[in-house]
């Protein structure tokens, strides 16, 4: 299997992984959220905060599994998922790298900026005395109108 090859090669070339202990936290196994979801979120968060950036190499499967003490198949699953989502790029025999296209990242940033705008706008309307229900109806009416105008 391609991912296991990757892991064996990395294990011999990357003896210590500084990212493992500073960027990643041990997941909470009893939280009800699958560990692969927790690690997926941690990697996305590390990219969003700039702790790891485009082109950076992620820890090898074995070193991440050993540091976080999680099943290596979980790490494989996360890397594979993030590759499909365009966040990571797996270079055969070399390892997993943060994708330079940053497609999914810029989308995340856009959404965060938009959320801030909406937050400020809603606050302004509230100060003007509008109730939450009224604001919601205005938004919905505007979006419905948008659809009709198309």
């Amino acid at each position: 299997m391609r991912f296991l090859n990757l892991n064996i090669r990395l294990a011999s070339t990357v003896p210590l992984c500084y990212l493992c202990s500073t960027v990643f936290r041990k997941p909470n196994p009893s939280s009800g959220v699958p560990i692969y979801v927790q690690i997926n979120q941690q990697i996305r968060h590390a990219i969003e905060t700039g702790a790891i950036s485009a082109g950076d190499q992620l820890p090898g499967i074995r070193s991440l599994a050993e540091t976080l003490i999680i099943n290596p198949n979980t790490v494989i699953k996360v890397y594979r998922e993030l590759e499909q989502e365009g966040v990571l790029e797996i270079r055969h025999g070399l390892g997993a790298f943060v994708t330079s296209r940053r497609r999914s990242l810029s989308k995340a940033e856009e959404m965060r900026d938009a959320q801030q705008l909406v937050h400020e706008f809603v606050d302004t309307l509230k100060i003007q005395g509008l109730a939450e229900g009224e604001i919601r109806r205005l938004f919905e009416a505007e979006l419905a109108g948008e659809v009709q105008r198309r």
Binding site: N7, P29, G32, P34, R62, E66, I70, N71, P72, N73
Partner: protein, 296 residues
């Protein structure tokens, strides 16, 4: 996926007592599979049958395709499998270094680097006699002898019992590391938190029967605790649906664990005029208690 361990209708009776009652299980290559159950549920009997230490009353099983009930094949199994027993039995008159030397001589694929690193990590005194070791040290030594054998399958019966938290963390890390190298690991444990941490598959037995066989991810994704408050009193039979196990009903409130089918269950509960429905995540410990209590 290839099954490394497979059993078909495996049974073991001790006199009138049925310890294992028709077990069908399979463990896939490369998996870290946890084997859970109460004391006396049949875990150790199953493991002993797999290793040819006791003979099945009926049914059969195989490891790496070798039949467990055939003496000649059982020998082949033991060459490929490392087993660390619950009682961590060792030759008391030997010193730590003597037993390592002795064990090493049987196994051509012995991992010398791992042996050296474990001796250091576990802080095992090389020259001390085994009879003078503490319980924790005996466990660590038994694990070292199992881990360093360089085998394809590792069967551990209660590997972390009696160890302190630091040693437990060390042991789990080695398990993860061996799994990353492709070793299949099958271990029994009462420490559910450690199972949740490192296992990717869970087999749970109760009174000699399999009651849960699922991947850890599926358990986390699909198992939910559901609590509902209805406008009128309801009865248990209103909630008999696929995916629902035992239902606790008290007046207008009901609580149960759903193993799958959660969306349809919630829809059904809503149709029964539930004023409030809470769908909550559930830990493996709660599932264990639910499965084990379900029979009483």
């Amino acid at each position: 996926m290839t099954a490394v361990i497979e059993t078909i209708e495996l049974k073991k009776n001790y006199g009138n007592h049925e310890a294992v009652r028709g077990l069908n299980l399979s463990v896939h290559a490369g998996s870290v599979c946890a084997f859970l159950g109460q004391n006396g549920a049949g875990k150790s009997s199953t493991i002993k049958m797999l290793l040819g230490m006791i003979h099945p009353t009926s049914g059969n099983g195989s490891i790496f395709g070798h039949r467990i009930d055939k003496e000649r094949e059982s020998l082949l199994i033991r060459q490929k499998v490392a087993f660390v027993a619950e009682d961590k039995r060792l030759y008391d008159y030997m010193s730590v270094s003597q037993i390592i030397h002795f064990t090493r001589s049987f196994f051509p694929r012995w991992d010398h680097a791992l042996e050296t690193s474990l001796l250091e990590r576990f802080e095992l005194p090389s020259e001390r006699k085994i009879r003078q070791l503490s319980k924790g040290m005996r466990t660590k030594l038994a694990l070292l002898l199992g881990f360093a054998r360089g085998c394809e399958l590792l069967i551990l019966d209660e590997p972390t019992e009696g160890l302190d938290p630091v040693a437990i963390e060390d042991v789990l890390q080695i398990v993860v590391s061996l799994a990353a190298r492709g070793t299949t690991i099958f271990f029994s444990s009462h420490q559910i938190a450690e199972v949740e941490q490192v296992a990717d598959h869970v087999l749970m037995i109760d009174r000699g029967k399999l009651v849960l066989d699922a991947s850890m991810d599926r358990i986390k994704e699909q198992y939910r605790q559901i609590q509902a408050v209805f406008t009128d009193p309801i009865e248990e039979r209103d909630l008999r649906l696929p995916g629902i196990g035992r239902v606790h009903v008290e007046g207008r409130t009901a609580s149960f664990v759903a193993s799958h089918n959660v969306d349809s269950i919630v829809e059904h509960v809503r149709m029964l005029h539930a004023g409030s429905i809470d769908v909550l995540p559930i830990s493996l410990k709660e599932i264990f208690l639910e499965k084990v209590k379900a029979r009483s």
